[in-house]
């Protein structure tokens, strides 16, 4: 009996340590991306503050955190989320609302945080983390000539062959309406204004339908980020839309693909602080978040992956430290979606548009796919 009670005591101790609010838990998307976050700012932050930072993988969306909240046992502190999720999470009261300039550190020259970040945030619960890009790439061994515009992606006469496009409507309808003649300029709101106009969505979908039904074209739908470079490398398609970081990694591995930046969609990734997470009350989670999103912190992750830090001041650090990539010989700034050569013409992702219309557009998108 005595032995048993001792065992129980020990067991309960172990359990209480394992579940105690000690390490700050950050959930992110896994793979090379989480690796860049962990090495770039997770580990340095943990070392500096003396608060361990744990990384947990998830596949996006708010279902898990909502379930945790409903069950009354929240185990996550910080989440790496899409813009749309910060909006929904903020509305549902899952995330903490920031007092931006107070909660986040200013740039080294004293510029307040809200001015150091490239654009304003989609909701009060979001702080920028990286900028990435939806662009397209081609395999130079399989394409005659050099595609250089978004129009070329839809031009099957000049560049015959199949295309790989994202399985959802997001990104596709923006690209399509650009190719149909709506010039996005430098991130102007014309793209989304035209999409919201009567028949705008149909106009974009008709363009994609034409591409997919074209005997010289045809579509392959991808849903995992690793697929586009793979489909290009094995010759399944001649061009593919995708995320620039994945294309960059494939290029570094020697795959003969070329990225086209014309009319790229600049999209963002955010951190959100979970309200009433295990380290919410004691302030540790906020301290970790502040440190990770500092100028040095955000610049750190760009050492490992070709996604741009949100802060203007982080780019300065990178420029001063080139070659910044972990191999010690690749200059990183030209590979950033925000580099001047890459932003001659670009679309700025509008999360408000997608938060409003996602369900309706998705139904139309699936209905369109059903007729292919």
């Amino acid at each position: 009996m005595k032995k048993l009670s001792k065992l129980l005591l020990a067991l309960s101790f172990v359990l209480s340590v394992a579940t105690s609010a000690f390490a700050v838990t950050v959930v992110s998307w896994g793979g090379a991306y989480t690796e860049s976050q962990k090495l770039g700012y997770g580990d340095p932050t943990a070392a500096k503050l003396g608060v361990p930072v744990d990384w947990v993988d998830y596949t996006g969306g708010l279902s898990e955190i909502k379930a945790q909240k409903e069950a009354g046992k929240i185990t996550w502190d910080i989440m790496d989320v899409y813009a749309r999720d910060t909006i929904i999470g903020c509305d549902e009261g899952i995330f903490h609302e920031f007092d931006f300039d107070k909660d986040f550190s200013p740039a080294p020259d004293g510029t307040p945080a809200s001015e150091d970040f490239f654009t304003s945030m989609p909701s009060k619960c979001a702080v920028g983390n990286i900028l990435y890009s939806w662009n397209y790439a081609y395999n130079k061994n399989n394409v005659k000539g050099t595609p250089s515009t978004m129009g070329d992606f839809f031009d099957t006469k000049k560049f015959p062959g199949k295309r790989a496009i994202y399985t959802g409507a997001m990104s596709n309808i923006e690209f399509a309406i650009t190719a149909d003649g709506v010039n996005p300029g430098k991130g102007s709101d014309l793209t989304y204004r035209k999409l919201m106009a009567d028949g705008g969505i149909d106009r974009a979908m008709d363009k994609i339908k034409a591409l997919c039904q074209d005997p010289n074209g045809g579509c392959v739908f991808w849903n995992a980020g690793a697929q586009p470079p793979e489909l290009l490398a094995n010759g399944e398609v001649v061009m593919a839309t995708g995320w620039n970081g994945r294309f960059f990694n494939a290029q570094m591995e020697g795959t003969p693909i070329v990225q086209v930046w014309d009319a790229q969609i600049l999209d963002y990734e955010y951190f959100a602080l979970v309200k009433d997470g295990p380290n919410y009350a004691n302030g540790d989670a906020m301290k970790v978040l502040r440190e990770m999103t500092s100028t040095e912190g955000l610049a750190g992750s760009a050492k490992y992956i070709a996604y741009a830090p949100w802060r203007k001041s982080s780019i300065d650090i990178m420029l001063a430290g080139e070659p910044w990539f972990k191999d010690g010989k690749t200059n990183m700034v030209p590979h950033m979606p925000t580099a001047p050569a890459n932003t001659k013409r670009y679309i700025l992702m509008n999360p408000e548009f997608w938060a409003d219309n996602n369900d309706e557009i998705n139904e139309k998108w699936e209905a369109m796919k059903g007729t292919l």
Binding site: T59, G60, G61, L62, S63, K66, I87, I88, C90, D91, E92, G93, T167, D202, C212, C219, V220, F221, N223, A224, N234, G235, E236, E352, A355, D356, N357, N358, D359, E360, N362, E363, K364, E366, A367, M368, K369, G370, L372
Partner: protein, 415 residues
């Protein structure tokens, strides 16, 4: 009546003492079953009950906008409601906006009609500066959704505490302003297509599995032990491999520059620049799913065939039947319980599949379970996800019921 009661040794009627002893045994048996019963209750009955409840529960919004709904009761739905409805909505929405509690409302109403989210958000910002009176005008100035009858219709449709609207949505139906059930706009009818596609995929995968598994199982059941064990491992080995590994292996095999296509070109069945598409269409879905679900058909068939004595076939032949006749008249009917079990198992599993079709099926790869996952994870419309889940469950139960009517459920055998 006149029969004398039999007494046990202590004078109590035998019948009573027997009952008493039996009661103890019954109680003990119940206690033994209790853990399993509790387990089923907690992991099965409660979650499914919760799912059913969620799919019809719509009380949250009624509690948030009581005045508005009361005022909307009198509204005919033809033109924009009058000033008093706008005032009622102001009375409901203003405290929510001040206390920052309006967020859930955006999401709930945006499921009903796209555009509510940003409209309400803008209104939320502006409502703090509203002046007394003339609310209709101020709302219409704040955002254009308040000039649109359709948004009021959508709001009125959310009034009942419990509603089956989500089930209608699952069949591409909706309410119009007079609460008649009508079909949704043509370019948004997607769910019926998805249901039919899901059933079609499940049906064909079951057929292909059956055609492939029957001879394999027969071979397994009749071969000598030392060969059949080896074969059995060949059947089971893929069964133990991760689903994603198997799916991606098929992607490697089936791609246009892949080994299967190379073989087809080598054999001269197709020219090199005109390789057939084996993936990103229904062929890919059928091939990969059939291979993945094959063991679920082989195992029940095998275990039933194993029990069929070989002497029965011999008897059939010795009574003058050709091999074909004795197979059709003797062997096949005896395997029906296994066929039933295998087909039900494969059909039910494939109706809920979505990762494999999404990866190898291309445009045809999105099935009803993908939509459920989307509403669970992305849109957070759990009520609609629950409704679709319930519909899937009812579908499976219907198939079970039909099977029971046609074949009889006692005729099912897993081993």
């Amino acid at each position: 009546m006149s029969q004398e009661q039999i007494l046990s040794s202590d004078g109590i009627p035998l019948e009573l003492s027997l009952k008493k002893a039996e009661r103890k045994n019954k109680l003990r048996a119940l206690l033994l079953v209790a853990p399993l019963f509790l387990f089923l209750l907690i992991t099965y009955v409660f979650p499914i009950g919760d799912m059913l409840f969620r799919s019809v529960d719509d009380r949250m919004i009624t509690q948030m906008l009581p005045n508005t709904f009361k005022s909307l009761e009198k509204w005919d739905g033809k033109e924009l409601p009058g000033e008093e409805t706008y005032e009622a909505f102001y009375k409901d929405f203003y405290p929510l906006a001040i206390n920052k509690e309006s967020g859930k409302l955006y999401q709930r109403l945006n499921y009903e009609k796209s555009g509510f989210s940003s409209g309400l958000k803008t209104t939320n910002r502006k409502i703090k500066n509203f002046e007394q009176g003339n609310y209709k005008e101020q709302f219409m100035k704040a955002h254009k959704i308040w000039k649109d009858v359709e948004y009021w219709t959508a709001m009125k449709n959310t009034a009942p505490n419990f509603s089956y609207a989500k089930y209608l949505k699952g069949f591409d139906l909706t309410f119009d302003q007079d609460r008649n059930i009508v079909r949704v706009d043509e370019d948004r009818r997607v769910h019926i297509t998805l249901w039919l596609r899901t059933l079609k995929v499940a049906f064909w995968v079951t057929i292909f599995c059956f055609i492939l598994a029957y001879p394999i199982s027969h071979l397994l059941a009749t071969l000598p032990m030392k060969y059949s064990n080896l074969l059995m491992i060949c059947v089971l080995l893929p069964f133990w491999t991760s689903l994603l590994v198997r799916t991606s292996s098929w992607m490697v095999l089936l791609q246009q520059q892949g080994p299967i296509n190379d073989l087809i070109v080598f054999l001269g069945l197709a020219s090199d620049d005109n390789r057939p598409e084996l993936m990103y269409n229904v062929i890919g879905t059928f091939v990969a799913m059939t291979q993945i679900l094959l063991p679920f058909m082989v195992l029940p068939l095998y275990s039933v065939m194993k029990t069929i004595s070989p002497s029965l076939m011999r008897a059939g032949k010795s009574l003058g039947g050709t091999p074909l006749v004795s197979f059709v008249k003797v062997y096949f009917p005896l395997t029906i319980p296994g066929i039933g079990a295998g087909c039900l198992l494969v059909f039910i599993l494939s109706i809920g599949y979505y990762i494999t079709p999404a990866l190898v099926g291309g445009a045809s790869g999105s099935l009803i379970s993908n939509t459920i996952a989307y509403h669970m994870k992305s849109s957070l419309d759990w009520a609609f996800a629950s409704a679709l889940g319930t519909m899937l469950l009812v579908g499976v139960l219907t198939i079970y019921w039909i099977y029971n009517k046609l074949v009889g459920i006692d005729n099912i055998k897993l081993g």
